[in-house]
């Protein structure tokens, strides 16, 4: 699948008033780079991702991938070339695993040799073979995350948004999934914005740069060494301290 403007920079300013806080965040991302959004629960990290994805609508600001304007005006969800993976992978329970993975591929492309090969590659790499024909409603939580990842990657989106996609999984599986994501981001060249409240997960997934939110505002941005060396607030210091 080819996307228009896939080789360009992503730029967003999100202003969104929530019941408890006002989120005001601006961020930029080069092609193929990654950004970790870090902060305590309720800091507004997921709101930022939801506004970029179009799940929520910002009150103000702008979201742009190259010259494709997401907002304003609000671009319909199906026209946004993004992958969005959350804690709840949102598999379609009435479909089999294989149907879930190829769900986002248009019918006229699905039969093409190149796409069949691509889906086969995903199946092998993410170890979905034994589950391939199982109903999505009958697989475990960890397996569902793998399927969700495969489904997202199947469309080869230029921008991937990850909202705590590893929450509740064992460390081994988290390691495997992070390695998979890094492998695919290098192979496919997509940009990645990830949210997590575990610094070690985020650091491994997005080693280049991080952006720290507190009460909807950016309190620090930069490399992880900088964050660990001179944390901008006592709360951040506390979040970075191992248990």
């Amino acid at each position: 699948m080819s996307w228009p403007n896939a080789d360009v920079m992503f730029k967003a300013q999100i202003i969104k008033k929530r019941r408890d806080i006002k989120v005001n965040v601006s961020l930029e991302l080069d092609k193929g780079s990654s950004l970790g959004l870090f902060g305590a629960s309720g800091a507004g990290k997921s709101t930022v991702l939801a506004c970029i994805a179009g799940i929520e609508e910002p009150d103000d600001g702008s979201v742009k991938l190259g010259d494709l304007q997401f907002f304003p005006p609000s671009l319909p969800l199906h026209k946004r070339p993004i992958g969005y993976l959350t804690q709840e992978p949102g598999l379609f329970p009435h479909l089999r695993v294989s149907e879930n993975v190829s769900f986002g591929i248009p019918k006229h492309l699905a039969a093409e040799k190149e796409h069949c090969h691509w889906i086969e590659t995903l199946r092998e790499r993410l170890q979905l073979g034994p589950l391939w024909h199982a109903p999505a409603s009958l697989i475990s939580g960890g397996q569902a995350r793998r399927v969700g990842l495969a489904r997202m990657l199947a469309r080869k989106p230029p921008l991937v948004l990850l909202d705590e996609p590893f929450a509740g999984l064992d460390r081994q599986l988290v390691r495997e999934l992070i390695d998979d994501l890094i492998f695919w981001s290098r192979t496919l060249g997509f940009s990645m914005i990830a949210v997590d409240h575990q610094a070690e997960v985020l650091k491994r997934l997005c080693p280049e740069q991080a952006l720290v939110l507190e009460n909807g505002q950016i309190v620090q941005r930069g490399g992880w060494d900088e964050l660990y060396g001179t944390p901008a607030s006592p709360l951040l210091q506390s979040l970075l301290t191992p248990l």
Binding site: I55, L77, H78, R80, I82, E88, G90, F92, P106, R151
Partner: protein, 257 residues
């Protein structure tokens, strides 16, 4: 002695079921031999045909109009939704006889729509169209209210996820919303079916002919007495029950997947 609680619950449910089915013991009442001669059998079988065919026709209309309406209501804000739900409750709340009278006046020769339809040769009293339109009015409120609940039960996030995978709204509805709501929709349809096929009060006013099963029961009672009612009652149950029961069987199977 300790009694298993499950057995107590089962005993309670059995008493409930017996009480619910108690009126059917009247099928064995001593009312003399049941009448199933040609003069009873012919009209009775004809009424079965009328009821099944025309109610099926009404269900097609109910599904065609009611499904998009329900999908729309399911996406409305609270205030607008309450307004539509109030509108749907009106034909349900109305005594069936009153609904029949209103339908006859509105769709008969003296009503605006009725007069207009007559220009095209469509007679809206004592006709198949009159029978169908009455069934639609009787059943559509039940279907739409049930269908709204079925659509509500489909997680919004799944629909948004499908859109983020590149599906336009119409395709999201066809590939995600509709399949996930289908059992709820089937149950809503079964309720509409049961309600419509058993309707007497409204149909007796709008479409005495062609007689469906409920009206034929009334005719049999008036013309031949109880011995001619009982066999038709059994036929009625045999003809009307399988479809909604099958839907519940399917729903039950799905629940245990």
């Amino acid at each position: 002695m300790r009694v298993d609680r499950r057995w107590l619950a089962r005993a309670g449910a059995t008493i409930f079921a017996l009480a619910l089915l108690y009126p059917f013991t009247a099928l064995f009442a001593r009312i003399g031999p049941w009448q199933w001669g040609e003069d009873v059998r012919g009209p009775a079988l004809s009424s079965v045909r009328v009821s099944l065919l025309l109610t099926a026709g009404a269900m097609v209309i109910i599904v065609a109009i009611g499904t998009p309406m329900a999908a729309y209501i399911a996406r409305c804000g609270t205030r607008e939704r309450l307004l539509w739900q109030a509108v749907l409750l009106v034909p349900i709340l109305l005594p069936p006889l009153a609904l029949g009278i209103l339908l006859t006046l509105a769709f008969g020769s003296y009503g605006t729509v009725g007069a207009w339809l007559e220009h095209f040769g469509i007679v809206m009293t004592n006709s198949a169209p009159a029978f169908i339109i009455t069934q639609v009015y009787v059943g559509i409120g039940y279907y739409v209210l049930g269908a709204v609940a079925a659509f509500d039960a489909v997680p919004l996030m799944l629909q948004k996820q499908a859109a983020l995978l590149g599906l336009a709204p119409r395709k999201v509805f066809l590939r995600v919303t509709l399949p996930l709501a289908r059992l709820g929709l089937a149950v809503a349809l079964s309720i509409a079916w049961v309600r419509a096929i058993g309707e007497f009060g409204a149909v007796v006013v709008t479409a005495y002919y062609p007689s469906g099963m409920p009206v034929q029961l009334w005719i049999n009672l008036q013309s031949f007495g109880l011995p001619a009612v009982m066999p038709l009652l059994v036929v009625f149950l045999a003809a009307a029950l399988p479809l909604p029961w099958l839907v519940h069987v399917l729903a039950q199977r799905r629940r245990h997947v």
